[in-house]
């Protein structure tokens, strides 16, 4: 295939042309600082408020509870660090899971160095949080439960409603990293008892460098970035107006096309999973078969290593990933795959394919054909496969 096949939409997505178009006037024409007093800038304040309204509505949240940030990582850092600070007098214990994104895990490690205690709850073999362990982990000093909405590697969707109920029953704040879920799944922060929610524009066809944090009214959370009075005194810095307009537009389109995309992507994903599992031996699907993001497929191919697979796919113009993009280049296999119980050598041979609304059946079929060839080639080179075959001949 001449055209690039982009199957790494969990790493980042193409910004939609409509989004870019909506942003454009705010660079060169309507460039004013929304905090300025003159009419010329007040139109920008309005544009920011409109984007905030779209996003609030998409979550069934109050408009004033949406705060724009520079992306998912900042939102996660803010939620965790500011909660830790604001509620330190209540307690020093935080609960999260073993399969969170590094933006959560490394922030937790940071907090552990600063006097907080963190419980990392296990997941089952499909990546679903063990609710009984969560309940058992709760202490009188627990101030926050932070569990991701859906996993970025294996696509597993967590039982957020149940977690929200547990949090509420125990009077503990509940944050969810919805960076992968927002725009793919319907989310109602009230129905789900969510107190804080992180999202990132570039994961749902919005621009990079912009995200938001939902903070339920009444929470004592303070600033993470101190300075000017922007975002109701809670997040300093001149508003990224084009970015905010862009994320607003992306959210609008995402909500308008949600069900249609879910149906289309789920069908293609299931076809992909079906073909790979039936046509390539010694292969497993990682993550829950049904409680998974519509666009996510994650496989482990026994006896081969992921990076070689990725490079060979790349040479066929197929963009894919072996886990979260941030950790490629590192030698450690994915902490998520280890958490669902995969042995190291199998974790190393994993492949994540994440679809977009643009993905076609033809692309999927072409990709599966190429994976088959490449996996066969790599296995023919693999000492692990050699040993396996010899052992089974005996």
């Amino acid at each position: 295939m001449d055209k690039k096949i982009y199957l790494d939409n969990a790493a980042t997505t193409a910004t939609r042309p409509e989004v870019v178009e909506a942003m454009l006037p705010y660079f060169t024409e309507k460039f004013g600082n929304p905090s300025s007093i003159y009419e010329f800038a007040s139109q920008n304040k309005k544009a920011v408020d409109e984007a905030r309204t779209i996003i609030a509505n998409s979550l069934n949240a109050e408009i004033s509870d949406i705060y724009f940030t520079a992306g998912g990582s900042e939102s996660d850092n803010w939620a965790l660090k500011a909660t830790a600070e604001a509620y330190a007098s209540k307690g020093n214990h935080i609960i999260t899971s073993k399969v969170e994104h590094h933006a959560i895990l490394h922030t937790c490690e940071y907090l552990e160095k600063h006097g907080f205690e963190v419980s990392y709850i296990d997941v089952d073999e499909n990546g679903i949080l063990k609710l009984d362990e969560l309940k058992k982990a709760i202490r009188p000093t627990t101030i926050l439960i932070s569990i991701m909405f859906a996993n970025n590697e294996i696509g597993t969707i967590q039982p957020i409603k149940e977690i929200g109920e547990i949090a509420r029953e125990n009077n503990i704040l509940f944050h969810t990293d919805a960076v992968q879920a927002y725009g793919q799944l319907k989310i109602d922060v009230n129905e789900l008892n969510i107190d804080m929610l992180s999202a990132s524009g570039h994961k749902f066809n919005g621009p990079k460098g912009i995200g938001f944090l939902y903070i339920r009214k009444g929470l004592k959370i303070k600033s993470f970035v101190h300075g000017g009075a922007q975002e109701r005194h809670r997040r300093a810095g001149t508003e990224n107006v084009p970015g905010i307009v862009g994320i607003g537009k992306a959210a609008e389109i995402a909500m308008a096309t949600l069900e249609e995309r879910q149906q289309k992507e789920t069908a293609l994903r299931d076809m992909l999973i079906q073909r790979v599992l039936t046509e390539i031996p010694y292969t497993r699907l990682n993550g829950d078969r049904t409680k998974r993001l519509p666009n996510n497929a994650n496989f482990s191919f026994q006896f081969i290593e992921g990076e070689s697979l990725l490079i060979m796919l790349d040479m066929q113009n197929i963009c894919a990933s072996s886990g979260s993009a941030c950790t490629s280049g590192s030698l450690d296999p994915s902490h998520v795959l280890l958490a669902i119980g995969l042995p190291h050598e199998i974790a190393h041979g994993s492949l994540r394919l994440t679809l977009s609304h643009d993905t076609t059946e033809e692309e999927i079929n072409y990709t599966v054909d190429k994976i088959k060839d490449i996996v066969a080639k790599l296995r023919s080179m693999s000492p692990l496969y050699e040993d396996y075959v010899k052992n089974n001949q005996r």
């Binding site: 006896f303 290593e305 990076e307 070689s308 000492p383 692990l384």
Partner: protein, 145 residues
């Protein structure tokens, strides 16, 4: 991220395969690190490495260094093969990214392991060759790479 030479040796690896009844076989690395290399040597009576094959489980750099290492030792005698260091492999590949340097060390180690196996089988001692540090079984040892 990789040089053209690395990409060439990764996509068209030289000397992939097994040698039946090889004079020496060495396997190093472990699955935990994500790299396992196995090198087969066919050494004639004069101590010349007549043939050399490899199998590798690992990243692009692991495959490319294995391929290059087999090319470099082929035709050499045992003493010369011992001098094929990881640096030599890296240079022959026009360099490796810093996070991949351990692959070239693994290739050096794999040759040594195969030579050690050859020496043991033939009850000889090769000057300057130490018992290889690690193979699949000795989990953890190679993790310092």
């Amino acid at each position: 991220m990789y040089s053209e030479k690395v990409m060439d040796h990764f996509t068209n690896p030289r000397n992939v395969g097994e040698i039946e009844n090889a004079s020496g076989v060495g396997t190093v690395g472990n699955a935990k690190c994500g790299d396992i290399m196995r090198i087969y040597l066919d050494i004639d009576d004069k101590g010349i490495i007549h043939d050399c094959k490899f199998k590798t489980f690992g990243c692009g750099a692991a495959v490319a260094t294995s391929s290059m290492a087999t090319e470099l030792v082929k035709g050499k005698n045992v003493e010369e093969a011992l001098k094929v260091t990881n640096k030599a492999v890296m240079e022959a590949l026009d360099g490796l990214p810093p996070v991949k340097v351990h692959c070239s060390l693994l290739a050096e180690e794999a040759i040594h392991a195969a030579l050690w196996d050859y020496a043991e089988k033939n009850h000889i001692k090769i000057e300057g060759l130490e018992k290889p540090k690690a193979d699949i079984g000795e989990e953890g040892v190679t993790e310092t790479y």
